[in-house]
Structure formats: structure tokens, C-alpha cells
């Protein structure tokens, strides 16, 4: 498998329509869909704070934390 076919976060193959493998793509989807509940709960929450909070929580899944760290390193956080 060439490097361009590989998920940037693990050794799995990227999905055709995604930047990530199936596991990390699923984690990314969960992060995106949960943001509205967090934003509503706190009233006003920036995505940066949202990611910081998720990263600190023990309950957050490993794949979710890997995605957040990846975004942070790539400075793609809005």
C-alpha cells in the first residue's frame, strides 16, 4: 500500500471518499454530529474549546482524540 493510500493516523487503508480509514472517518463523523449538542448545552462554544474539552475527557474514544490531535497539528481547527 502506498503512503497516499494510507490513513494518516494508522496503518489502515484510506476510504475512497475520505481522508481517513473507516474507523477514523467514523470518529470524525461523530465529532461533527455531537458539536450541536455541546453548543446548545453550553450556550456558546467555539470549536476550539469543544476540541479541548473532548481531548481532556476520559470518556472520549481513542480514535476521536487522534483525529483532534491530527487537526491541531495540521492547524486545521477553525
Amino acid at each position: 500500500m502506498s503512503e497516499s493510500d494510507q490513513c494518516p493516523l494508522c496503518e489502515r487503508r484510506k476510504e475512497q471518499s475520505s481522508e481517513f480509514c473507516e474507523l477514523h472517518r467514523s470518529a470524525l463523523e461523530k465529532i461533527e454530529s455531537a458539536y450541536s449538542a455541546w453548543n446548545k448545552g453550553y450556550g456558546d462554544l467555539t470549536k476550539q474549546t469543544y476540541y479541548d474539552k473532548l481531548e481532556d475527557l476520559n470518556e472520549t474514544g481513542r480514535a476521536v482524540k487522534e483525529i483532534i490531535q491530527y487537526f491541531k497539528t495540521k492547524e486545521r481547527v477553525e
Binding site: 467514523s26 470518529a27 465529532i31 455531537a34 450556550g43 473532548l54 470518556e59 474514544g61
Partner: protein, 716 residues
């Protein structure tokens, strides 16, 4: 004079059968090439009782082919010692039974009355006793008590339970076809790609079971918690502080909770309504195997396999009935009174048996599940003749108290609720107490109910909000499986049998697919499941496995043939395995990286070397062959830090840290033993402390001896 050969499943059972049939005559023990036989004889009949050692025959490939070759579709039943490693004893057993069988003209299968037992007896009679299966009869019993064994021998079935034996054979054959072909395919793919051998396995039941664990792990790894808020409210009633629940249990918006806090802080509320409800708590149903395993895990932490092993020992000691049962029923034929009278010899149970025996008619609260072969697990009423080990004692006590509880009266519980109004906001004070203990009294300490007594309250009474705060909480991911809950899921999915499920769970640990008691799927488990999902999804889909289970059940009922199910399996598997063989190198590539990573992770500790900070790894000494924890910096910085580890069993590095020193803990799993968790660092510290103490004591001894008179006789 006729000679009858009775085949039992285990040596202990052979002795019990011989003793029961001998009556007052003590059985004579005969040794044939070291294999024990028990003989009882009268004027008309000579009975020889022998035992198998579990399965003496196994499915194996026909002909002499390489262990790596696949696909394999031709098989036959062969002596286990010829086809499996470490089974020499079985060979000796087969030879001795074959020799003695020549003296017999009648044959009886007295192995446990279930699928495996019927098969064990059938194969011994067919292959070792020269086709005696055709004339053999079947002895059926659920306990090894003398009375039941004598009754069973007087009421032998005229022929063997062939359908049960064929269903058992078919199960082994189908599992072998799956296991040998899929496992060899995975192992060979990895070997060809990496040139390193790793045992990889999957199977008809193992694959779907592993998928349960992997799917749960995936869910946990992708879990995003969401916040919610709860109120912590304390109400003061006549100087007593009581915790209250808010009408809204959880708030999805923080400000909604804060608004209530603002409205209620330091306010006075009024008791608006007092309600009480009574609930009935029906007695538990008798134990089937999975309920016993589940309770044993809940109360003692025993894995299903350990619980089954302990229960089987109690069965062989005549203390409880046959544990591999699906039944939740206790037929009257077991004679409840006799069982209770027997148990009243034990002081601990006497108050309960006295109460039950004087309570009138005994009627157990039976469950729906039934098993045509055996009743639910129950104590036989026989008192232990030897001191049970603590773990056996626990299972025995659990079975006995559960048996009592099923005859107990319905318990009742009262729930109290007081509604407190603070402006528009409502709070509830809740209490509960047991009104009638009923069966709970018999099942203690295994049945526990927390009682909360509310202070006396009257409607219209004023109470003060003493404290009200908001607490932030988060939703939790689904819990990881433990061996007991995984077993339950297998049962719900109708895969495997009560006899095999516990072993399959254990295999997942042995193959390195899961680790920790809360079963965590390893990267290898992910990779295997991903490969199977990608290349042969049907193999890990429970649907076909369940279909096969149904077909095998039909063999048991005489509605399906073993040959037909075997052929259907081959037809189903052939294209899958051929396809896998074509994609061997592709699969191998996918496996190699994970295996390498896993092997490295398996031996690398997460704590750094305390001397040089480099990684610590488990190393095996080339010189002594012994393993130990060493510093990987040895080759760079010459660091010589090392710690010992246990030399036996499978070593797993746990995520757990030692509560004393914080070092990473290790677990040893070996067959037939409880997993041992230990800290190598503390072990060394204890050794050092022990040595220091010994040296100190020695030094003191020297000082004392120097001050003592030189000769003993000089002492006063």
C-alpha cells in the same frame, strides 16, 4: 455369566458408578497398563467400569499431509494421540479399553448425558471396542449419587442415543472444516509475507464472537461524550439532611439547571404529596449453566470457564447435579425434601432447611427454559466428604442458597415518595424498605437490597432547601464485554453450545485477540476481523453460523443427517477458502504490519527504565532460556536494569499500574489456573527487604552468640 463394560467420561465418575452398582461390595481396582478399571461382580454378572479422558478421538485430515496444507476437505475420526500433540496418555487409554472390551459381551455408555458425553461414549464403543456401539445401551443420569446411578442402570435405554452422538460428531466436523481451513489460510498468508510464524486462528463460532468484541471496541474508540447537568439537592427535614431528586433528572442545557438553582437556593418548600407503593419480588429461578456462570462472575469474579470447572468438580464429588444444563426446572422426582434433609446436616443451612421443611408443600419457582436431558443445577443433599477448597466452597454455597431461594415465598418491598414543591419546582424524596423478606432471607448474601428510610413527613409540612448545586456530567460509552457478558451475548445470538462457549472466550485471550478482564480488542483482533469482513464476510456473520446450529439441532431430533450438513458446509466454504488462497499475499501484507506492531507492543512496557529512561521490554535470555524485563538501552548506554517475571504461562502487559509503586503490572494466564496479576518491581523490593531483614537478623544472631557463654553446660 455375562461381562458388562461400562464406559464413563472421567475416572471419578467410573469409581462412583462402580461403587453404586457394587452396593455393599467394594469395587476391585484393576490396572491395565496403568489405566484403572473397577470391577464388581456377583453370581450372574461381572461389571467392569472404565473411563475415557474426555474425548479420546478427534477429527483429523485423512492421509499424511503437511500441517500447513489447505484447503482440506477429507477427514476421519482418529485416536487423539495420533493427531494432537501432548496426548500420549489417550493412546494408552484406548489400547487398554480395546484389550478389556474383548472380555465383555455387553456394553453401556455411561458418559454424561449430553451431546459431548454421548459422542465420547459412542466413539470409544465404535472405534476402541470393535463396533460395540451397535449393541451398547445408554445409562442416563443427572447426579452421581448411588440411588440415581442404580436407578439409571436398572432402566437402561435399549440402544445408544445415536442422534445426539451424530449431532455431536457433526458439530466437531463442521468446526474442524471451518477452523482448519480458515486458520491455516490466515497463518500461511502471514508466514509467506513476513517469513515469521504466528498462530492465527478463527472459526465458525470464534469469528462472530470476536466480532462482538471488535464492534464494541470500535464503538468505544469512536465515542464522543456529550455533556449534561444534574442537580444535587439536599433538603432539611426536622434537622435531618436528605438527598432529593429533581423532577428533571438531567438537563441538556446548563442554564436550565442554573435557573432552578437560583430559584431554590435558601428557599423553603412544602411537602405536597406522600405516596407509597408495594412491589412484589418473585423468587429467582433455578440455575441453568449460564445463570450460574453469570452469578459466579458477579459475586466472585470467576470467569465462565473457571465457574464451569468448579461446578464439574462438585458434580464429580456427588454434591451437585450435572451443571451443563439449559434447564430452569426442578422436577419433583429429585425429591426436594430429601435434598433439604441432607443439607440440614450442615449447620449453616439448618435454620433455612428447618423453615422450608415445616412450611408445607415445596414448590420451586421454575423458569421457562427446559433441557430434555437434565434438570436445573441443584444440590444433591450429599454433604462434602472432603474439605472443599475456598473456590469450590463458594460455588457450592451459591448453588445451595439459590436452590433454597427458589422455594422461598415472594418478598415485598415498599417504595415511598414525597413530593416537595419549591415555587414551581418539584423535588422528590425517595425511600424504600423490605416489608417481607421471603426468599431474600435464603439467598443472602447474594441478594442485597439497599434500604433507605425517609424521616417522618406529613403533607403541608415545611422543609428547607439546605443545599442545591449543579454538577456537570458526560454520557458514557458502552461498557466493554467481560467474559460473562460475552458469553451471554453468544447465548442470545444462539452461537456455540453451553459446553463450548467458555472455551471460545478463553481462546480469544490465548490468541492475543483480547486483553484485560474488561475485554479490550487488540490491533490484531481488529485486523483479523477487518480481513474476514473484507474477504469473506459470511464467515463472521452470525446468520450462517446460527443456520448451522439449527441444522445440527435437527440432527439431534432425527430430522437431518450429519452427512448432509457436512456436505452443505463444504459447499459453502469451498469457494471462500479458494478465494482466500488466491489472495494469500494480499492478506499476508495486511497482516504483517499488525503482527510486527503487536509483537513489539506485547513485549514493550509503557513505563520507562528508571535508570536511563529508555524503553523496558520483556526479553528471553538466549543463554538460560528464561524471560525477564530488561532495558532496551543496554546496547546503547550499557544500562543493566532488569526485573524478574514469572516463567510459566502467557505473559500479558496490563494497562494497570501498581497501586504501591506505580510500575506497570503483568498478568500470567495458564491453563487451569486463575490469571495472576503481579508487579515485578514490588516483587524485587520485597525480596530486597526480606534479604535485608534476614541479614539484620543474622547480624543480631552473631552479636547475641558472641555475648553468650561458649559452652551450653555452663549455663545455669
Amino acid at each position: 455369566m455375562t461381562t458388562t463394560l461400562i464406559v464413563t467420561e472421567k475416572p471419578d465418575a467410573a469409581l462412583h458408578v462402580a461403587e453404586a452398582l457394587g452396593g455393599k461390595r467394594k469395587p476391585k481396582k484393576i490396572s491395565v497398563s496403568g489405566v484403572p478399571f473397577f470391577e464388581v461382580a456377583d453370581d450372574q454378572e461381572r461389571i467392569l467400569v472404565c473411563s475415557a479422558l474426555g474425548h479420546l478421538y478427534a477429527v483429523a485430515a485423512k492421509g499424511k499431509e503437511a500441517r500447513s496444507q489447505y484447503p482440506v476437505w477429507d477427514f476421519s475420526w482418529q485416536p487423539k494421540n495420533l493427531v494432537e500433540r501432548g496426548q500420549k496418555r489417550q493412546g494408552k487409554w484406548i489400547e487398554s479399553i480395546a484389550k478389556v472390551s474383548k472380555e465383555a459381551d455387553q456394553f453401556v455408555n455411561a458418559c454424561d448425558y449430553d451431546l459431548e458425553g454421548s459422542l465420547i461414549g459412542y466413539t470409544v464403543l465404535k472405534y476402541a471396542c470393535g463396533g460395540a456401539d451397535r449393541k451398547a445401551r445408554r445409562m442416563k443420569f443427572s447426579t452421581l449419587t448411588p440411588k440415581e446411578l442404580r436407578d439409571a442402570y436398572s432402566n437402561l435405554s435399549p440402544e445408544l442415543d445415536f442422534t445426539l452422538a451424530y449431532a455431536g460428531m457433526c458439530r466437531h466436523e463442521v468446526d474442524w472444516l471451518y477452523g482448519i481451513n480458515l486458520s491455516r489460510s490466515l497463518t500461511q498468508s502471514a508466514l509467506k509475507a513476513s517469513n515469521r510464524y504466528s498462530t492465527l486462528s478463527t472459526g465458525r463460532v470464534q469469528g462472530p464472537t470476536l466480532r462482538f468484541v471488535v464492534d464494541r471496541e470500535r464503538e468505544i474508540q469512536c465515542f464522543v461524550p456529550t455533556p449534561y447537568w444534574v442537580l444535587h439537592t439536599v433538603i432539611e427535614v426536622d434537622g435531618k439532611l436528605v438527598e432529593a431528586d429533581s423532577r428533571t433528572e438531567r438537563f441538556d442545557v446548563k442554564t436550565d439547571a442554573e435557573k432552578i438553582v437560583k430559584e431554590c437556593t435558601n428557599k423553603t418548600g412544602v411537602v405536597e404529596k406522600l405516596e407509597s407503593r408495594t412491589y412484589r419480588l418473585t423468587p429467582p429461578t433455578p440455575f441453568d449453566l449460564s445463570a450460574l456462570q453469570s452469578e459466579a462472575y458477579r459475586h466472585f469474579g470467576f470467569t465462565p470457564r473457571v465457574a464451569l470447572g468448579l461446578a464439574e468438580r462438585l458434580y464429580l464429588d456427588q454434591l451437585i447435579s450435572y451443571p451443563r444444563t439449559s434447564s430452569q426446572k426442578l422436577p419433583t422426582s429429585i425429591n426436594y425434601q430429601d435434598v433439604m434433609k441432607g443439607l440440614s446436616e450442615l449447620e449453616d443451612y439448618r435454620p433455612i432447611t428447618t423453615k422450608l421443611l415445616t412450611s408445607g408443600t415445596l414448590v420451586p419457582n421454575e423458569g421457562k427454559k427446559d433441557d430434555p436431558a437434565h434438570p436445573a443445577v441443584y444440590p444433591t443433599g450429599t454433604v462434602p466428604k472432603r474439605a472443599l477448597d475456598p473456590r469450590e466452597q463458594k460455588i457450592f454455597d451459591l448453588v445451595v442458597r439459590r436452590f433454597f431461594a427458589t422455594f422461598g415465598e415472594t418478598a415485598s418491598k415498599q417504595s415511598d415518595k414525597a413530593t416537595i414543591k419549591v415555587g414551581e419546582n418539584e423535588f422528590y424524596l425517595r425511600g424504600s424498605r423490605i416489608l417481607e423478606k421471603g426468599w431474600i432471607a435464603f439467598y443472602e448474601p447474594y441478594a442485597k437490597f439497599d434500604e433507605i428510610t425517609l424521616p417522618p413527613l406529613r403533607e403541608g409540612q415545611q422543609v428547607k432547601i439546605n443545599e442545591i448545586t449543579v454538577t456537570e456530567k458526560y454520557t458514557q460509552p458502552a461498557p466493554r464485554y467481560n467474559p460473562s457478558s460475552l458469553l451471554r451475548s453468544m447465548e442470545e445470538a444462539e452461537i456455540g453450545t453451553k459446553a463450548t462457549r467458555a472455551d471460545i472466550v478463553e481462546t480469544l485471550y490465548q490468541r492475543g485477540y483480547v486483553k484485560e478482564e474488561r475485554m479490550q480488542a487488540t490491533p490484531l483482533a481488529f485486523r483479523i476481523t477487518e480481513i474476514l469482513t473484507k474477504y469473506c464476510p459470511k464467515v463472521i456473520d452470525v446468520t450462517f453460523t446460527r443456520e448451522l446450529e439449527g441444522m445440527m439441532d435437527q440432527i439431534e431430533q432425527g430430522k437431518e443427517t450429519r452427512e448432509h450438513v457436512d456436505l452443505a458446509t463444504v459447499d459453502y466454504l469451498k469457494p471462500i477458502i479458494e478465494d482466500l488462497k488466491m489472495k494469500e499475499s494480499e492478506i499476508g501484507q495486511e497482516l504483517t504490519a499488525t503482527i510486527k506492531e503487536m509483537k513489539m507492543a506485547e513485549i514493550t512496557l509503557s513505563v520507562p527504565c528508571p535508570k536511563c529512561g529508555d524503553a523496558l521490554v520483556v526479553i528471553r535470555s538466549k543463554k538460560s532460556g528464561k524471560r525477564f524485563i530488561g532495558c532496551s538501552g543496554k546496547w546503547k548506554t550499557d544500562c543493566t536494569f532488569s526485573l524478574p517475571v514469572m516463567q510459566f504461562g502467557v505473559l500479558t502487559l496490563l494497562d494497570k499500574r501498581c497501586p504501591v509503586c506505580g510500575f506497570q503490572m503483568v498478568q500470567n494466564r495458564s491453563k487451569g489456573r486463575r490469571p495472576m496479576v503481579s508487579c515485578s518491581n514490588c516483587f524485587v523490593n520485597r525480596l530486597k527487604a526480606g534479604k535485608a531483614k534476614a541479614q539484620e537478623a543474622k547480624a543480631q544472631e552473631v552479636t547475641v552468640s558472641q555475648t553468650l557463654p561458649a559452652k551450653k553446660q555452663e549455663l545455669p
